[in-house]
């Protein structure tokens, strides 16, 4: 990047401590939100229909001795706040309780599902970045006809729900072309990626459209700025002007919506995993809801919210790094 940087004091070391402060603040705020959210979910699930003890006992439901034993074992006989306390201390020890339906500890159940979901989100995220950015950049440089064409396609992609995209892709690529497997997760990294390609494309398509729109608008907006005229007037070649000035600065608005896009990808896994029969966290959540397995619902929901908040915090920090003006806190 800079030829001057190494032999110069960075302007007083302020920028990076500023970033650290932002990170710390964000983390504290995140923890608080997560605490509130987890408590609300906990309370709400207490109100949900279906008694977990009855579900566990199955045929033996109604046996007062068995009910009392289970109630004591899972602290169901204690006040709500105490129960929540138990869950929270368990969370800190990595113990999220037991799934009544799967007859397995919730933490190992979730741990087994996380890799698929994480890989799916990462794969989708890369697709959004590459595809969305490329299409947006092309649209911003293209002539009127191409630009309008892309813009219409983007509108359709934006308005098409993921589950519709899923069935279209399955029909075309699995049924008729037989390029990709329909269900399952595959073995090994390559096998997994192969199995995850259709799901990741499904997950990424509408987010990519949003990304492309913002990129196009940001690049067009940035091209009209004074500092770009200055760069041209200084005799920089076209590629340098585009890269160092137009695209570099367009990254700011793009980063702003990256948080929304990341959050959308995480939330989207719920539907995509179900559509493709992937055993990820999202499909686990839906299974748990249908089978009233509330211990699993509680923990998977909190996990999804945590991922959601983490992405937003990460984007905030990223923004601070990309835009020096937010870094130094306005010292004129």
């Amino acid at each position: 990047m800079a030829i001057v940087e190494h032999n110069l004091p960075r302007s007083a070391g302020r920028p990076w401590s500023g970033v650290l402060l932002t990170v710390a603040g964000r983390l504290a705020q995140m923890a608080l939100t997560l605490l509130t959210a987890s408590f609300l979910i906990f309370v709400a699930l207490q109100l949900a229909p279906g008694n977990p003890v009855d579900i566990m006992l199955g045929a033996k439901a109604g046996d007062p001795e068995a009910v009392r034993r289970l109630n004591a074992q899972y602290h169901f006989d204690q006040p709500l706040l105490v129960q929540y306390g138990h869950w929270l201390t368990g969370l800190l020890h990595g113990d999220l309780g037991t799934s009544f339906v799967f007859r397995e500890s919730v933490s190992s159940l979730i741990a087994a599902r996380v890799p698929t979901s994480a890989l799916l989100v990462a794969y989708g995220g890369v697709l959004v970045l590459v595809l969305g950015f490329a299409v947006g950049l092309v649209a911003s440089r293209a002539g009127r006809t191409v630009d309008t064409g892309i813009s219409v396609l983007l509108s359709v992609a934006l308005a098409t729900p993921t589950y519709v995209i899923a069935i279209v892709l399955i029909t075309v690529f699995s049924l008729y072309l037989d390029w990709f497997p329909v269900f399952g997760s595959g073995d090994g990294l390559l096998g997994r990626l192969h199995h995850l390609t259709l799901p990741a494309v499904t997950l990424a398509l509408s987010s990519s459209a949003a990304m492309a729109r913002v990129t196009r608008a940001a690049v067009k907006d940035e091209e009209g700025r004074d500092h770009v005229t200055t760069a041209v007037a200084r005799g920089l070649d076209r590629r340098t002007v585009l890269g160092r000035h137009v695209v570099r600065n367009a990254l700011l608005p793009i980063t702003t919506i990256a948080g929304i896009i990341g959050a959308g990808l995480i939330a989207g896994t719920v539907i995509v995993e179900n559509a493709f029969g992937l055993d990820g966290v999202g499909s686990l959540l839906v299974q748990a809801i249908t089978r009233k397995d509330y211990a699993v619902v509680q923990s998977t929901s909190v996990l999804i919210i945590a991922a959601f908040l983490l992405v937003n915090a990460f984007v905030d920090v990223l923004y601070g790094i990309i835009d020096p003006r937010t870094r130094t806190g306005g010292t004129r």
Partner: protein, 284 residues
């Protein structure tokens, strides 16, 4: 001897075909000799900025240019993109009005100053940093080494305008184009920046085209004054003629009258109504 810059019967037109034609420059002609300072005065919309930008082909892409512009005998409209890039980079320096808008906020001052050397060799890049420090010193910035590591938003408008002047001089241009470089600054800073420009160009023998709507400012800075109105040059003056009151065009007189003056008390400053001088000067 050919002048350094020769603008000959320059017309600039927007639109055409399905849209109504808008002609914004009507046959502008002037020359700038080597080492000469020329000031262009006129109100907003008189076409002075368009004229300036056309010199290095920076006019809007949807505008059409007729007439010729010659830099050192070479026709600018006939130049290839590559030649244009070289002209802008090596021979013509430009200073813009609002430094906070005209300098990219995301790069450090040092990067901004040495940007045009990025494609050069290692040695040239190191020399560029040395030259940047030297120039910052010459534009009277204290502690240049620290400033190199600063971001634009950390500097005041006056400081940043000096940085932009330094940047324009990095490759030793033969012509400096200044587009209202003092308008966005406060009065004291304005005077300092003008004095700086005057000194720097005298020391280097750089030619200067200076745009402003402040007619007395150009009177103090320039060897020759062009008055622009509605896309044409309506009068050419020397500072002596200006100060001696030898003004022939009523618009120039009106411009002069619009300046506040500490020696006279007035309730209101006169303003020039839009198109007040149009009759008799409108063409076609």
């Amino acid at each position: 001897m050919t002048p350094l810059l020769q603008v000959d019967d320059l017309h600039l037109t927007f639109g055409g075909r399905d849209r109504q034609e808008q002609r914004l420059l009507h046959g502008v002609s002037f020359t700038v000799a080597a080492g000469e300072a020329v000031g262009i005065v006129g109100e907003s919309g008189s076409g002075k900025t368009l004229t300036l930008r056309a010199i290095t082909a920076l006019h809007p892409p949807n505008a059409r240019i007729d007439g010729d512009i010659r830099f050192d005998g070479l026709s600018v409209p006939a130049m290839s993109p590559r030649e244009l890039t070289r002209l802008r980079r090596d021979h013509v320096g430009m200073v813009f009005q609002d430094p906070h808008a005209a300098i990219n906020p995301v790069h450090r001052i040092g990067d901004y100053l040495t940007e045009t050397y990025r494609k050069d060799g290692r040695k040239q890049r190191r020399d560029a940093t040395t030259r940047a420090l030297e120039l910052l010193h010459q534009v009277r910035i204290k502690d240049p080494a620290r400033i190199l590591g600063c971001f634009p938003h950390e500097l005041s408008g006056g400081m940043l305008q000096r940085v932009m002047i330094a940047a324009a001089l990095m490759r030793g241009p033969r012509l400096l184009l200044a587009d209202e470089p003092t308008t966005a600054l406060d009065v004291t800073t304005q005077a300092e920046v003008v004095a700086l420009i005057a000194d720097l160009r005298r020391d280097r023998g750089t030619s200067l085209v200076f745009i402003t709507h402040d007619i007395e400012l150009v009177g103090a800075l320039c060897d020759r004054i062009l008055v622009m109105y509605r896309g044409r040059i309506v009068e050419q003056l020397t500072p002596a003629q200006l100060h001696g009151g030898e003004i022939s065009h009523p618009y120039t007189a009106a411009l002069l009258a619009c300046r506040p003056d500490v020696t006279r008390r007035r309730d209101r400053l006169p303003a020039i109504a839009a198109g007040a001088f149009e009759e008799g000067w409108a063409v076609q």
